[in-house]
Symmetry: C2
Subunit: 139 residues, 2 copies
DNA sequence: TCATAAAAATGTAATCATTACAAATTAATA
DNA sequence: TATTAATTTGTAATGATTACATTTTTATGA
């Protein structure tokens, strides 16, 4: 997604594409690292010296509200964000802390216990040891 | 689970069954309402006037650490706790706020994208409208 | 039983992520 | 260009959680 596409995408989601919003969304798209608001602020403030942290929070909340990004609560003490709105799961390595995406066959999740429940969001979080950290521990 | 069983269960998990710990665990077992630390404190303080909120936090952290309870991060601003350690999912109704349990066939989740990853925890969170709230909206 | 050490619980203060809010800046419109 | 609306800013407030030193309770051994 280049900056033109991002602009179109935000407009499509009823979000006026201001400069800051474009930059923050671009950060999410280019860095699929599930960042916190604070990390986004720290990464962008050099390039946009007038940026305030409140704007980052406001903007991320707007993205989530309009369905342009999703909030990831895999950590208990901080919120992370992801511009990838396709159905997928997240894996957090307990050793290195990295959050990985993985494909997900959502239809396979049997919701027999929830008849007539209307699902609007799904958040699939796994935790454990990633491949790299397992290898490291073996040596 | 009566208090005897709870005592045995805590011991089995390397947790010394003090009075407060027993009461807090009993609350989790008897009220499957996925409470916050604050709610547990408010519900128990009348019966145990010397209880402190710090003790509730300490105790819940101990339960999670020892594998006697799990931390639920379906809310972005507060931690909830569940003594049910069997594999199951959680559904939060966006209208009434209630958190439901539902059975889960975890094996159905295809983790093709994560070869050699060692999964130690799974947290499956759905959000939407529960049955009751849908009916309410229709009328 | 009493003394002593270890563990648990308490209460207050600190921390840290997030939000509230009012003021300032920027953009849109006529 | 004037005026209004939207966006952004900065600071202060909030609220959940933790740190930490003190007190209380429990366990152990003489």
């Amino acid at each position: 997604m280049d900056i033109r596409e991002i602009e179109r995408f935000l407009k499509f989601n009823q979000i006026k594409p201001s400069h800051h919003r474009l930059k923050i969304y671009e950060y999410l798209v280019k860095n699929k690292n599930h960042p916190t608001a604070d990390l986004i602020y720290r990464e962008l403030v050099d390039e946009i010296p007038t940026l305030s942290k409140t704007t980052v929070y406001n903007t991320l909340n707007l993205f989530v509200e309009k369905g342009a990004a999703q909030l990831i609560t895999i950590d208990e003490s901080e919120n992370r964000y992801d511009a990838d709105m396709s159905i997928h799961g997240h894996f957090k390595c307990k050793h290195c802390g990295k959050v990985y995406d993985f494909p997900l066959n959502f239809a396979a999740i049997d919701m027999g216990g929830l008849q007539n429940f209307q699902v609007e969001e799904n958040h699939i979080y796994l935790k454990g040891l990633c491949n790299d950290c397992q290898i490291q521990k073996e040596n």
